[in-house]
């Protein structure tokens, strides 16, 4: 089995050698991720709020108590990447950051032993990731290129949660890393010999291992679907 893998890898590299013609690109992009953070479940929520799926089952209401729905955070995305593009294959890496900029806060209801009371909740998350991806380049007409590929990323971030009511006040912060999988699809419209407009979709899937903070624990979920657009600057060179 190992020999088959080695021979296959050699065939792919040999067959691809002649397509490595050409350019290095620098990409600057920004966008948004509609939902980040996964369930945002923590041990404290299970123990004190009877909430076992984080943000997915924390919303409760009762007549006489005004609450506001806690929606999943929306993330702002920004990044810079470098890409090596051949005739048909590309390799890419860079650095991207995702920061929750909306959502994630509101209020719910819980009984801590002296009747139902309103609990103000706030979830926030930020993480950066370094993707390493490869894939296929498709030239479409003369001005358009489509990219499809995948790989993995190193992601590191911090998740914070806070819960406040008349009888309790609790804040927790967790930091950790994970290796999410990356699948991406993008297209670019070539403006000049050295610049193009870019848009794309990136799907990250993965989460950290368990992170403990005193008696509390959680996993940081890096899973997200990001929509981004930006500019690409090409630097062509001839490969030997």
């Amino acid at each position: 089995m190992m020999k088959i893998k080695i021979y296959t890898a050699l065939i792919v590299l040999a067959a691809s050698a002649e397509v490595f013609a050409s350019s290095v690109s620098i990409i600057f992009k920004g966008g948004f991720a509609p939902e980040i953070g996964g369930s945002m479940h923590t041990g404290w929520q299970a123990e004190h709020l009877d909430v076992y799926d984080g943000i997915n089952d924390i919303n409760r209401s009762k007549s006489g108590i005004k609450v506001s729905t806690i929606e999943k955070p929306v993330g702002a995305v920004a990044g810079a990447e470098a890409r090596y593009t051949g005739d048909t294959l590309y390799f890419k890496t860079g650095a991207d950051i995702v920061y929750s900029c909306a959502g994630g806060s509101g209020s719910t209801i819980n009984d801590f032993g002296s009747g139902d009371e309103k609990v103000d909740v706030d979830y926030s998350l930020w993480f950066y990731y370094v993707p390493v991806t490869a894939g296929i380049v498709i030239d479409y007409w003369d001005e358009v290129r489509i990219f499809a590929g995948g790989g993995a990323a190193y992601a590191y971030g911090t998740f914070s949660s806070s819960f406040k009511s008349d009888s309790i006040e609790y804040d927790a912060s967790f930091s950790g890393y994970g290796i999410p999988l990356v699948a991406e699809l993008g297209c670019e419209y070539i403006l000049t010999d050295n610049a193009a407009l870019f848009c794309g979709i990136i799907y990250l899937y993965g989460r950290s291992s368990i992170i403990e903070n005193g008696n509390d624990y959680t996993r940081i979920d890096f899973t997200s679907l990001s929509f981004t657009a930006g500019l690409i600057f090409f630097y062509d060179f001839q490969a030997d």
Partner: protein, 242 residues
């Protein structure tokens, strides 16, 4: 399983008249199963029970079971006719080189180490369309049904009496079963020369979870295939002279 094979034979027989022209190819892809097949859900359930044990015994030590991606190897046999594609695959995915492990150490009992070993064979039958995108590149979209044979073994170093996990009372619990399902895939292909091409493929597997009894009939677990894979590979088109 018999019904599945019969369905394939009937489908191929009905489609036989179109095999007058077109191309045959075979491919090998290396990929990653994002949720480790069924392991993700099973590990989450065991982790939840471990946390319930800790809630009742705050001094207990818990190490949750992580879920890693499972590598996969796929062999494809494909027939292309004009813009239509018919593909039969053989896929193997397993938690090779590592098994997911966790542990729970109650205050008044020995530590119980839990290990999950998982592997599956999946046979996807896909039909779809090929969309050319240039002289040497094309997209394809396909879907179909698949049959998976999933093997799972959960070992515990000290399950306890009464059992710590009521639904897994034995030290070793082995489960295996056939799980039918559906899938959808999209991919891109770059033709390198007359016979070779490079592929990138995203596949989404969907299936219901079916209850499977352990080999010794002492316990039951739900097995399914609800996951996605990304894979890269190489395809070889056979010169048939057609």
């Amino acid at each position: 399983m018999t019904k599945y094979i019969t369905g394939i034979i009937i489908f191929l027989t009905l489609a036989a008249p179109v095999f007058a022209a077109g191309s045959f190819s075979t491919g090998i892809l290396f990929g990653v199963d994002a949720k480790g097949g069924s392991v993700g859900k099973i590990a989450d359930d065991l982790n939840y029970e471990m946390r319930i044990i800790k809630a009742g015994d705050p001094a207990a030590e818990v190490e949750e079971i992580p879920v890693y991606y499972a590598p996969s190897l796929t062999l494809n046999f494909r027939y292309l006719y004009d813009r239509l594609m018919l593909q039969l695959g053989w896929e193997y995915s397993a938690t090779v080189l590592y098994n997911e492990t966790g542990s729970v150490k109650p205050t008044a009992a020995p530590e119980n180490k839990i290990e999950i070993e998982y592997s599956r064979f999946t046979f996807p039958l896909s039909a779809g369309v090929v969309i050319p995108a240039g002289k040497r590149t094309r997209f394809y979209m396909a879907g179909g049904f698949n049959m998976s044979f999933i093997m799972l073994e959960i070992t515990q170093s000290d399950p306890g009496s009464p059992a710590m996990f009521s639904n897994i009372p034995d030290e070793t619990s082995s489960y295996s079963g056939y799980i039918p399902g559906f899938h959808f895939k999209v991919g891109t292909e770059v033709i390198l020369d007359r016979n070779y091409s490079v592929l990138f493929e995203y596949t989404r597997y969907m299936s219901k979870s079916l209850a499977v009894e352990s080999e010794n009939k002492n316990s039951e677990i739900k097995l399914g295939l609800d996951t996605f894979e990304i894979a890269f590979g190489i395809n070889y088109t056979v010169d048939t002279g057609l």
